[in-house]
């Protein structure tokens, strides 16, 4: 039996199967690239964001010494903190996104609200920010170990 006539009959079928396989391969490559890009962004920018958030937490704690006189300064600090959190949210995947999104909405609401009667909402933001920082540091350490292994 000659191969040529068989090939002439089935060539279009083979081409169809190959194009479906290449589509699947393209999708896998796309997913891998997305993962690589996200890892790159994490390694490149997250340490900087962690240090910015550390600074915001430190300043919030200091400003709480003289609450409510410092409310306007706290609002300014919350605004810059909100920008960092929003930027982080775009770079992170997984279960850390939920507490981050919660904190982002709390910060956003508090910043837009009028002066609170007590310092408690600001203290809650400060505490949640510290919790988020701890999670980010853990994530950073996991990432470092994954890369080195």
């Amino acid at each position: 039996m000659s191969v040529l006539p068989w090939l002439q009959v089935h060539l279009s079928d083979i081409a169809g199967v190959c194009s479906i396989a290449s589509l699947a391969l393209t999708f896998i490559v796309y997913l891998s690239l997305r993962r690589l890009l996200s890892q790159f962004l994490f390694s490149a920018r997250v340490p900087e964001h962690i240090s910015q958030l550390n600074e915001h937490a430190r300043r919030l704690s200091e400003l709480l010494h003289s609450f409510p006189e410092t409310w306007e300064d706290i609002r300014e600090r919350l605004a810059t903190c909100e920008a960092v959190l929003a930027s982080l949210k775009r770079k992170l995947r997984g279960e850390i996104r939920k507490p981050l999104a919660n904190l982002l909405s709390t910060v956003s609401e508090l910043r837009r609200s009028s002066k609170p009667r007590t310092e408690d909402p600001v203290r809650k933001v400060h505490c949640d920010l510290l919790c988020l920082l701890e999670r980010l540091k853990n994530l950073q350490e996991d990432e470092r170990l994954t890369r080195s292994s």
Partner: protein
């Protein structure tokens, strides 16, 4: 709530009590052992029957390499770059200043240390005095 989050909330509450002046800190000279670790000053406070001691000390840690060239240089030489960083420690101590238990290292300890320093230095009093012109 995870274990670390529980400790962050404990430290955060201690910070609030410090800023409210419900927790009063006093400055104490460091013991010989602590001085060797770069401790310049310790701060102690009583919370109920517990005595808390707070201080910052030097510790050498492995540097996180940033940048491809630095990472390659250190990977090739199989050397570990060590840097000295400042860490904050909170402990429960006995009446002789011997540590009984150390708190886990969590975010917020530095804020607590700064609040204690602010209180001991009486920064509010200083600012009020300068503004009054006395």
């Amino acid at each position: 709530m995870s274990d670390k989050e529980k400790w962050i909330r404990v430290v955060s509450n201690l910070n609030k009590l410090t800023q409210d002046r419900s927790l009063v800190w006093a400055s104490e000279p460091p013991t010989e052992g602590l001085r060797e670790r770069g401790v310049e000053n310790t701060y102690t406070a009583r919370y109920g029957s517990w005595i808390l001691r707070l201080y910052s000390y030097n510790v050498e840690v492995e540097a996180t390499t940033s940048g491809l060239v630095t990472a390659l240089v250190y990977a090739a030489s199989s050397r570990t770059k060590l840097i000295t960083v400042r860490r904050t420690r909170l402990e429960i101590v006995d009446t002789f200043q011997s540590p009984l238990w150390g708190f886990p290292e969590v975010s917020g300890l530095e804020d607590l240390l700064r609040s204690a320093q602010y209180q001991v230095a009486d920064v509010d009093g200083f600012v009020a005095a300068v503004l009054r012109g006395t």
